[in-house]
């Protein structure tokens, strides 16, 4: 029997990355000088799990690194070390290094060993430094392995008798022994007396027991901690040796710590083959790193999601109801002859409700709280504000607001960009703030909430706001706005979304490369969202992002052109109106424009763009659906508006390819397929009509 431990890699990595997030947010919230022991405990536990896991899976580099980190945290937890800002900084760096090492192990790539080593050194340095101070205060409490505590006490004699079922709990005695050896010099002796005859041997039963002589300088709590996880699965006795001199003498100690480590492993080896190999792999980390990492890499290919158990229960209840409805409808078969239409109708209504609820619940499985994305910002703000020499407080509101996992992942980078912008351009240096009559502390607010079928994310700051004059001057300089042109303030604000427009005087490390807001806006557009900006010069800016909760479903307006039904996403519709002929203007006898409240918008005759036969070519007989796409408005001429409904978006690219002017397809209630229009693409297509690809006939026989 052999267990492929690679199958657990993915879970390990997921848990480790979660642990890192816990550590990071915990460290940031840690109050300098006045640590909350519960908070440090949480950080310590996260580090401890990572260490344990990486040790089990043979990621020695990670477990060694975490060990130093853990030691440091342990001292903080015990109160023997002060929580200094410097220590927190180094710990945060260590979290970064760990993240890098974990990603490298997951993807089978290499991490920057030099950088990690540097952080490792800094940790060690801190450990020594802090230790020097703390021994001065309270020498007896020092727990670091390097501790030179008074050696007055006798050695520990530990009797470790695992219960036979120990292996089934997933614990490895060799690991325990190794941890003990790491605490101080140890002598380990295996007790094989329980071993049965070969015929009765069960590979999954633990027959061995150990007696360990451990350096007396190690604290009792440290030893107890090693056994913490297996307390219930083994008999452990811990005594000072001078109390039981005889035992120590009669025990024939195995030569030294290193061979002691191997000895039990070798004895255990034949029966528990897989465990031995797991141990072996750990030792052969360097030699076999390559292929093991490859195994880890394959696990990262799939992505998984953690679902709240409540959501699953809801789903199970709904399926139960669905089954009841189905059997209720099934009964109509048996009642031969008479059909009770009322009951049938009632059943169908129930079925409809069940289906809708089921759909909503299934969708909810993909929903995650936005805190997954917001959690990284305290760190970002902390690092950036110290780098920029600004005092910034981050307020997070509504981090439990849920949205689709895909949207969540795609929104992360734009959000980082916007928050960086707020810090770099928005919040002023403390001196400027005081001069402007504000508090030296700037505030950046990240807020999320649901509004209808949308999620609204706001990034606000109480900084300088946008300077409309500066913006306008810059735009004129770049030729984006004519010299005499006068723009209303909101139009001026929109300029920052223009490609290549950056108002930062100098390109800074943080932002201001001129690729920014336009990319952000495009990303948001791709997600089917809109981005708005509110800014008051001198008082700050707020950027509001409105996104659909999910990418899988959209609210659509069904329109008809000839025999074809199309779907226009409701988010892109501004209004729908009956065209009046006196408002239709033509330019150069070709382009048609429609005057809509002082604005001229192009008319896109859908039947022309898509080459279908319409019911009518007369504008008055159809309708204009005014849409907005990529900042442009246009009136789409259709024959008729049909109903509105939620549609499930299906990709055309799965089996075909991307089609211009079409963002996807969906299946209507009657089973037919309808195309979903892409307003922006349609306007572009109207300007540069595509030639029907009939020119590929040379391919045909």
């Amino acid at each position: 029997m052999s267990i492929d431990i690679a199958q657990f890699h993915q879970v390990f990595f997921e848990e480790s990355f979660e642990g890192l997030e816990v550590m990071e947010s915990g460290l940031i919230d840690l109050e300098i000088g006045r640590p909350d022991s519960e908070a440090i405990n949480a950080i310590f536990r996260a580090a401890h799990s990572i260490k344990g896991g990486s040790g089990t899976f043979g990621f020695t580099a990670i477990s060694d690194f975490t060990h130093v980190l853990e030691t440091l945290l342990d001292e903080m937890r015990n109160g023997t070390r002060d929580v200094t800002r410097e220590a927190v900084d180094v710990l945060l760096l260590a979290v970064d290094s760990l993240r890098e090492m974990l990603s490298a192990a997951r993807d089978g790539s290499d991490f920057d060993a030099a950088a990690v080593a540097e952080v490792h050194d800094r940790l060690e340095e801190l450990l020594k430094l802090g230790h020097g101070e703390s021994t001065a205060v309270d020498a007896a409490d020092a727990t670091a392995p390097a501790a030179a505590a008074p050696a007055s006490t006798g050695a520990w004699l530990i009797r470790f008798v695992p219960h036979p079922h120990l292996f089934t709990t997933g614990n490895d005695p060799v690991r325990i022994l190794r941890e003990l050896c790491a605490l101080g010099e140890a002598q380990v002796q295996a007790d094989c007396s329980r071993l049965p005859d070969y015929a009765e041997f069960d590979a999954e039963t633990c027959y061995l027991a150990w007696t360990i002589n451990l350096d007396g300088n190690v604290e009792e709590s440290a030893v107890r901690e090693v056994f913490e996880w297996i307390e219930d699965d083994a008999d452990i006795s811990l005594i000072r040796e001078h109390d039981e001199e005889d035992v120590a003498v009669t025990a024939a100690p195995v030569a030294d710590a290193t061979t002691a480590q191997d000895a039990p492993a070798l004895q255990v080896a034949p029966p528990v083959d897989d465990r031995r190999s797991g141990d072996d792999r750990r030792e052969g980390e360097d030699r076999r790193g390559g292929d093991r990492r490859a195994a880890g890499g394959s696990a990262s290919g799939t992505s998984s999601i953690r679902v709240d158990i409540g959501k699953i229960d809801t789903l199970i209840n709904l399926v139960g109801e669905l089954v009841i409805t189905q059997s209720m409808l099934g009964n109509f078969d048996e009642d031969s002859g008479q059909i009770d239409y009322d009951k049938l109708r009632e059943g169908l209504a129930q079925l409809e409700r069940n289906t809708r609820e089921l759909q909503e619940s299934v969708m909810r499985i993909r929903m995650l709280p936005i805190s997954f994305s917001f959690n990284r910002f305290p760190r970002l703000v902390r690092d950036l504000s110290s780098k920029l020499g600004k005092q910034v407080e981050l307020k997070i509101v509504g981090e439990q607001t849920e949205l689709d996992k895909t949207v969540l992942e795609k929104i992360a980078d734009p959000l980082v960009h916007l928050v960086r912008n707020s810090l770099d351009h928005g919040i002023e240096p403390p001196a400027d703030r005081i001069a402007a009559g504000k508090s030296a502390h700037g505030t950046v607010t990240l807020a999320a909430r649901h509004e209808g079928g949308n999620i609204v994310i706001e990034i606000g700051d109480d900084g300088a706001g946008l300077n409309p004059e500066k913006l306008l001057a810059k735009a004129r300089e770049r030729g984006l706005v004519g010299a005499e042109e006068i723009l209303p303030e909101d139009k001026i604000h929109e300029l920052i979304f223009h490609p290549g427009f950056s108002t930062a005087k100098e390109v800074s490390d943080v932002s201001g490369r001129g690729v920014g807001m336009d990319v952000v806006k495009r990303n948001i557009k791709e997600l089917g969202g809109v981005i708005e900006l509110d800014s008051k010069f001198g008082h700050g800016s707020t950027i509001r992002i409105r996104l659909p909760l999910t990418l899988a479903i959209l609210d659509g307006q069904l329109v008809r052109v000839g025999g074809q039904t199309y779907i226009v996403p409701l988010v892109s519709i501004v209004e729908s109106l009956q065209a009046q002929s006196d408002r239709v203007k033509s330019v150069a006898a070709s382009a048609e424009l429609y005057r809509l409240r002082g604005e001229y918008i192009p008319i896109v005759r859908l039947y022309e763009v898509f080459g279908v036969e319409p019911q009518s070519r007369v504008l008055e007989q159809g309708l204009l659906v005014v849409v907005e796409g990529e900042g442009q408005r246009a009136g789409i001429f259709v024959d008729e508006l049909l109903g509105q409904q939620q549609v499930v978006i299906k990709s055309l690219e799965t089996n075909y390819r991307r089609v211009e002017g079409i963002s996807g397809a969906t299946i209507l209630g009657d089973g037919t397929v309808a195309m979903i229009l892409d307003a922006g693409g349609l306007i572009a297509l109207h300007r540069h009509p595509a030639s029907p690809k009939a020119a590929h006939t040379n391919q045909a026989a």
């Binding site: 055309l652 299946i667 037919t672 397929v673 309808a674 690809k693 009939a694």
Partner: protein, 172 residues
């Protein structure tokens, strides 16, 4: 799927010495008989009206809903520049799995009628002659003689892969 599960040799003319014979599903197109690897056939269904995809060549008839999947439908007659005909009761859509550089795709092909399933061994293969200017033969795997009839065996991956209309729009 049912078709691909049928692994036993089916009783037929020459060349049913099981061994290394491949099975081909054949269909009729303008009186000619064409064959495709039966393992690629996902299902065969009757013609149903499709939804047109704008700005595509005539031979792409549109897309169809195949149990929730959006599947493009290609009219092979039009694809091969054969005269178009009214669809009849025997007109069927053969849904095939096609290997494509972007992964496996499911595509439906409209043909006049399904004909038969043959076991074809390598000895029955005749390489496709070079038609020179008259026809492109990349997508013809071989010509096979079965029951004194000529069957044109198609390489469906080539047929789709070489088709510019199946790739992302180049002008943008």
């Amino acid at each position: 799927m049912e078709a691909s599960a049928t692994q036993q040799p089916i009783e037929m003319g020459i060349g049913n010495e099981a061994g290394n014979a491949d099975q081909y599903l054949t269909f009729l197109l303008n009186g000619e008989e064409y064959g495709v690897d039966i393992l690629r056939v996902q299902e065969i269904k009757g013609w149903m009206p499709t939804t047109k995809i704008p700005n595509t060549p005539e031979y792409i008839r549109g897309v169809m809903n195949l149990r929730g999947a959006i599947v493009p439908i290609i009219d092979l007659r039009l694809r091969f520049n054969m005269p178009a005909i009214e669809y009849t009761a025997t007109t069927v859509v053969i849904v095939l799995k096609v290997e494509h550089e972007a992964g496996e795709r499911t595509i439906g092909f409209v043909v006049d009628a399904v004909s038969d399933v043959y076991n074809v061994t390598a000895e029955q293969f005749n390489p496709a002659p070079d038609f020179g200017e008259h026809a492109h033969t990349d997508f013809i795997r071989a010509l096979a003689t079965v029951d004194d009839k000529m069957v044109i065996l198609l390489d469906i991956d080539q047929l789709v892969g070489r088709d510019a209309a199946m790739h992302a729009a180049s002008q943008h």
